[in-house]
Symmetry: C2
Subunit: 448 residues, 2 copies
Amino acid sequence: MSSSTAVPAADGEPLVAGRALRVALLGCGTVGGEVARLLAEQATELAARAGAPVELSGIAVRRPDKHPELPTELLTDDAAGLVVRPDVDVVVELVGGIEPVRGWLLAALRAGKSVVTANKALLAEHSAELFEAADAAGADLYFEAAVAGAIPLLRPLRESLAGDRITRVMGIVNGTTNYILSAMDTTGAGYAETLDEASRLGYAEADPSADVDGYDAASKAAILASLAFHTRVTASDVHREGIAQVTASDLVAARVLGRTVKLLAICERVTADDGTESVSARVHPVMIPRGHQLAGVGGAFNAVYVEADAAGELMFYGQGAGGAPTASAVLGDLVAVARNRVAGGRGPRESAHAALPVRPMGQTPTRYHVSLDVADRAGVLAQVAQAFAGHGVSIAAVRQRDANDTASLVVVTHLAPDAALRSTVDEIAKLDVVHEVVSVMRVEGEDQ
Amino acid sequence: MSSSTAVPAADGEPLVAGRALRVALLGCGTVGGEVARLLAEQATELAARAGAPVELSGIAVRRPDKHPELPTELLTDDAAGLVVRPDVDVVVELVGGIEPVRGWLLAALRAGKSVVTANKALLAEHSAELFEAADAAGADLYFEAAVAGAIPLLRPLRESLAGDRITRVMGIVNGTTNYILSAMDTTGAGYAETLDEASRLGYAEADPSADVDGYDAASKAAILASLAFHTRVTASDVHREGIAQVTASDLVAARVLGRTVKLLAICERVTADDGTESVSARVHPVMIPRGHQLAGVGGAFNAVYVEADAAGELMFYGQGAGGAPTASAVLGDLVAVARNRVAGGRGPRESAHAALPVRPMGQTPTRYHVSLDVADRAGVLAQVAQAFAGHGVSIAAVRQRDANDTASLVVVTHLAPDAALRSTVDEIAKLDVVHEVVSVMRVEGEDQ
C-alpha cells in the first residue's frame, strides 16, 4: 500500500508519484471523521496535488467498537503504539487537551514522524518543546487548523508575511462567544439566558468555560503572537477576560453610541518611548463601532485583522470551527507534508529569534468607554474629569444626557496604560456624585 | 559576501546560517525601490527568518545614471547578463510586460536561478513554460505579488487549500477601476469625467487601458483560475469587459435597488447536468447588494472571496497595489526561496492535473439586471416577460414604477446561459413598447 503509483499528469503522460504518505489519525470525532472521509473521497486529487498518495495507516480512538463507520482493520485504542509504528509517516492529532497528547506527539516527532495538529491548548503551552523535537528529527510541524478553523491565517503569518514587520493581529477567534454576544445584541437578553439558549441550540458546550471564560481565545492569541512577533508567547502570557461579566446594559450602552461588543484577541507590538519593543497579548470584550468590519461578523464566523509595516492592513474571514472547515485546514497541511517529502525539503521551523519581552496588561496602552449614572447637578463632570486627570488619563469624548431625575455620563478616553484606567474607574465608583458605574468596556477600531 | 554568518537564535546560542541568498533585482521603480530599501533595512531580521542572509548582487535598470539613490556598484543596464551571473541565486522581476522579460526569466530558470515575480501579464500567458523551466532545473517560481498586492492569496490557494475542492473565486482585483466606480457611485458623475479626475489624482495611468478595459483583472483571473482549479487558464480564456460602458444611469439604477456596481473577476467551477466539470473565468462589471462585503471595499483596496467544499466561504482583504504592499509580498516569497535552499527542498510546482475545459462565456450561467424605459400602458410586462420566456430565461423579480408619462420596468433574472440573456436583451430592445434599455448589468451576491 505504500509503493509508488502512477498519477496522470496534466499533459496526459503518466507521472510516477513518490512513496505514499502514511497517516496515523488520532481522534475521530467531528473533525477526524471529515478528514477520514475526505482522504478516501479525494484520494486521486490529493495524490495528484501532493505528488504522492496520502493513505490512512491507522486511527486511534478511545472506543474502537463505537466506530462501525470506519474500517475495522485501521482502528486501534493504542495511540501511543500507533504514533511510532514503522508504517506511519505523519501523525494527525485531533484529540485535543494537553496530556496524554503531548507525550504522543513528542514520541512521534522523536521517531521522525511529522505532525499535523489542531490542538491550540497544547501549542499555546508547549510549542517550543514540540518545535525542538521536530527540528532535531527533521520533521514537519503544521497546525493551521489550531486557529480560525478553515481560514488560511497561520501559513500567511509564517510564510507570506515573513519578509514584513507585523505590528498587530486582532480578531474574533471564538465562535461560541461571538454567537452569544451577537444574540445578546439582537435580542437584548442577558448573558445567562443567552448562554442557556446557545447550549440548547448546540452553539455552546455542556461545560462552556473554555469558550466563555476566554481560555480558547487566549490559546489562539498566544499562537498568533508567537508567529507574528517571532517570540515565544504562551497562554499564561495572555491577559484573559471572558464574556460572563458582559451585561445587557453594556450592549445597550454600546448600541446608544452606534457600537457593539465583541470578544477579541489582540496581539500588539508595543514600542516604548525609549524605542524598546515588547509584545502585548490579550483577550477581552471590546466595544467597536457598528461600521467596523469586525462588527458585522456574526455567528460562528471568525475574522482576523493583521497590520504590517509594508503590507498595511489585511483581513482574513471565514468559518472558524466545524468538521469540514477544520478538516480543510488539516488536509492542506497534509498535502504540505507530502510535498516536502517528495521535494526533499521541510516546512518552516519555529521562528522565535526576536525574543521580545511580554508586556503586562497593566502597562499595555488601551482605551476605555465608561458609562455612569450620576447625580443630575452641576459640577459632576468636573469631579469625574478630575479623577481621570489625576491618573494621567486624557479624555477623548464626553456625552451627558438627562434621564428622569438621574443623569447619564459617558466618557471615552485616549490611550493610557490599562492599570491607570482601572484605577481611575475604581476611584470614580467611590465618588458621591456617581450612583452607579453602568458599563466599563475597552474600545478598539476608532480614531483617537 | 556569500559566506555563512552567525545569527543569534532565540535562546541566545549562535545559529550558523546557510550561505547567503544572492538576489538580482530587475527594475527599480516604486516596488523595486521598496524591495531594495527593505532588504537593506531589515537585513538582520530577514536573515534570522530565512536561515540565511538575503543580499543584493545586482540591480538592472534601463538608465543606471538615473538612480543616484542606489549603490553604483550594484547597477547595470544588462538584465540579460545579470540573470545568469554566477553570483545570483534568485531573480526578482519587477519590470512588467511580456518581452523581453519572458526571455530573461526563462534564461534565469534554465541556469538554475529561482524566480520571484509580480508580472501578472507574463504569468497569465506563459506560466506553463515558466513552470516547466523551473521544474527542469529544480528552481522555485513564486509570484504572490502578481495578484492582489500585499494580500496573501496565492499561497493560500496553492498550499492551504490544496486539500480542498475550490468552487469559486470572486473579487475586486483592480484598484483603479474600483476607485473610479466608487467615485461614480458617490458623486453621480459619468465615466469619462471620473476617469479624468482619477488620472489627475494619480489613481489612473496616462494610458489607462490595461486597467479600465479589464486586461489587468483578466490576467489576474487567469492566474487565480489556474491555481484554484488545477487547470491551465490563460488571459485569452477569460471573458473580459471593462468599465468604459458603465454609465451614471447604471449606478442610479443600482442605487435605487440598494445595489452598487463593481468590476469583479469571477472564476467558477461549473458542473453540467451530466456531471462533467468545466471552468469559467470572466471579468466584467457586476451589480451587487450594498450590504455585500465587496460593496464596502473602496478606493485602492482589493478583496477576494474564495468558496471551497470543505472550507466554505473565505474572504481576503487588503491593499492591492503600491510600492510597500507589493514589496511585502515579494519579500515573503524571497524568504520562502531562502528557506527552501536552507532546508534542501523546493516550493510548490505547477498543479494542472485537473486539466478542465474552459467554458465559453455564452454557456456560462449568469444573472441579469435589466432596467427599461417602457410605454406606460397595460400589457407591457406581458410582452417583456414573453421575450424572456422565449429564450428559456426565468424571471426572479420585477419592479414597475411610473415616472411622468413614461414608466420604468426592472427585471432581475434567475441563472441562465449568458448567451440566452444577451439574446433576450437584444430582442427586448426592439420591442415597440420599450423606449430605451437604460441599464443591463450582471448580478452577483444575491439569493436566487
